[in-house]
C-alpha cells in the first residue's frame, strides 16, 4: 500500500468518525427533546392537580353579606350518593312543582330553568338547597354563593346558597338564577342585587298565582319555572328545619337518608329533578330512571 493510499484511508476514517459522532450527537439531541416534551406534559398535569388541590381557580363573585360557597359544601351538595337519593324518594318534602300548559321555556336549544328569589328570603334559603342539588345532577355548578337569610325576618340567618353569579354548565338544561336583593337591610327593604328581565318578570307575573298556583302563594318567592312545563312558588319544607345548622352541616346531612334534613331537601330535589326530566326527554337516563326520581314523578302535581 502506498503512502498516498494510506493517507486517503486515514482521511476517510477520520471523516467517517466525525460523521458518526455527529449522528450520535443528533440522536442524543432528539432524545433529549423527546424526553423534555414528555416531561413537560407530565409537569403540566401535575401543575393542574396541585392547583386544584390548592384551591386556585375557584371563582368568587358574591354580593355583600355573601361569600363563595366552600368547595366542600359544593362538593357535598353535588355528590350526594344516588343510593341516598333513591332511599329518600319523595321524603318529607311537599309543594312539588305543578304541571302547567304554556309555551316551552328554552335557551340555547335546551329547556331553561328560571329561579327568581332573594337572598334575604328564608323560604328561598330552604328551597335553594333542593334546586341546586337537583340541577347538579344535570350539570356542574361554578360560582355558587354561600349566604344566610335575613337576620331580622322569620327563620333568621338560615344558612343557604346564592345563585347570584352562579353558572350551571349542562348539556341538558340552561339555568337562570335571579336574586333580587341581598340580605343586607337598606331603607325599608334590602339592598337590590339582580334585576329580572322584562320577559322573566312577565313569566312570574303570569304563572306565579292562579290559575296555575294557589292564590295564597301568588307573587311569592322563590318562584321556579321549569322549561315552561312546571312551576312552583315557595318552599317545599319548613326553613325551621335548618335552624342553627351551618352550611357544611346541611350539605353533609344530605347523604344520610335517615336525617330529617335529607328527607326534606333530597325529597324536594327528587321532585324538581323529576320535573326537569320531563323537559329533557328523560335525559340523562342515569338520573331520570333513578328510583328516587321516578318515585317523585308519581306525585300528584307531576301529572
Amino acid at each position: 500500500m502506498t503512502n498516498s493510499s494510506k493517507s486517503n484511508d486515514a482521511t476517510r476514517e477520520k471523516v467517517a468518525q466525525m460523521r458518526a459522532a455527529q449522528v450520535r450527537a443528533d440522536r442524543r439531541r432528539r432524545i433529549v427533546i423527546a424526553v423534555s416534551a414528555v416531561g413537560a406534559i407530565v409537569v403540566l398535569v401535575a401543575v393542574l392537580v396541585i392547583a386544584k388541590l390548592a384551591g386556585i381557580g375557584t371563582p368568587a363573585k358574591t354580593a355583600a353579606g355573601s361569600s363563595a360557597a366552600s368547595a366542600a359544601v359544593t362538593s357535598a351538595l353535588s355528590h350526594v350518593p344516588p343510593t341516598a337519593l333513591d332511599a329518600v324518594g319523595t321524603g318529607s318534602a311537599n309543594n312539588p312543582p305543578t304541571v302547567i300548559t304554556s309555551p316551552a321555556l328554552k335557551q340555547g336549544g335546551k329547556p331553561r330553568v328560571l329561579y327568581i328569589g332573594a337572598e334575604y328570603c328564608p323560604y328561598c334559603a330552604a328551597q335553594r338547597w333542593a334546586v341546586a342539588q337537583a340541577l347538579s345532577r344535570f350539570g356542574t355548578w361554578t360560582g355558587l354563593g354561600q349566604t344566610t337569610s335575613s337576620a331580622s325576618d322569620i327563620d333568621p340567618n338560615t344558612a343557604t346558597l346564592s345563585f347570584h353569579g352562579a353558572t350551571l354548565t349542562s348539556r341538558y338544561v340552561s339555568f337562570t338564577g335571579v336574586e333580587t336583593t341581598t340580605n343586607q337591610p337598606a331603607g325599608t327593604g334590602y339592598q337590590p342585587l339582580d334585576t329580572p328581565t322584562a320577559a322573566e318578570a312577565a313569566l312570574m307575573q303570569t304563572y306565579d298565582g292562579p290559575p296555575y298556583l294557589p292564590s295564597a302563594s301568588a307573587g311569592g318567592i322563590p318562584f321556579l319555572d321549569i322549561g315552561g312545563a312546571y312551576v312552583s312558588s315557595g318552599a317545599s319544607y319548613d326553613p325551621q328545619l335548618l335552624a342553627g345548622k351551618t352550611h357544611q352541616q346541611i350539605a353533609d346531612a344530605l347523604k344520610n337518608p335517615a336525617n330529617p334534613i335529607a328527607q326534606a331537601i333530597d325529597g324536594a330535589a327528587n321532585a324538581i329533578t323529576a320535573a326537569i326530566c320531563k323537559t329533557t326527554n328523560n335525559q340523562p337516563a342515569a338520573v331520570c330512571a333513578a328510583p328516587g326520581v321516578t318515585a317523585a314523578a308519581s306525585t300528584p302535581s307531576h301529572g
Binding site: A16, R27, R30, A37, V38, V42, L44, S170, P284
Partner: protein
Amino acid sequence: MAEAKHIPAGAQPGVPTPTPTQSVPNWVPRSSVAVSLTGMVVAGYLTWEHFTGASTFACPQNGAIDCVKVTTSSYSTIAGVPVALLGLFFFAALALLCLPAAWRSRRPLLRSLRLSAASAGVLLVLYLIWAELFRINAICLWCTAIHILTIALFTIVTIAHALNGPPRNHQP
C-alpha cells in the same frame, strides 16, 4: 474500517456514512399497538355509555369520583361530537399508524401524521383534565384511563421518532 451500509445521494464516494437507525426497536410497534387497542376498548365503552345515557356505568359515584357527571357534562362533546367518539377514532387511527409496517416506512407524511396525532391527543387530554378539575369538579375513572393511555402513546411515539431519526424523502 467501518463498512458503509447505505450511501445516500450526495455522499462522498468511498467515505462510509453512518445513517440513522433504519427501524425502531421491536418494543415500539408492539407497545404502541397494544396501547392503541386498549384505548379503543376503553373509548368504545365510553362511546357506548354516551349514547345510552350513561345508565349502566361501571363506575363509583361518590365525592370527587363521578363518571356520569363527567360524561354527561357539556364538556363531553366538542362541536356536537362526543369526546368519547373522538377518542375512539383517535386510537383507531393510531393503531393503524403504529402497525409494524407503518413504523418501517420512512415516508415523511406518515411520520408527521403519527407524531401530530399523538401530540393533538395529548393536548386534548390536558384540556379535558383541566375541565374535569376546574369546571366539572369530578373525575371519571374511565376517562383517566384514556388520559394515561394517550400520554403513554405520546411518550412511545415521541421517543420512537427520536430514536428513528429525522424524516427523509421516500425513495421507491
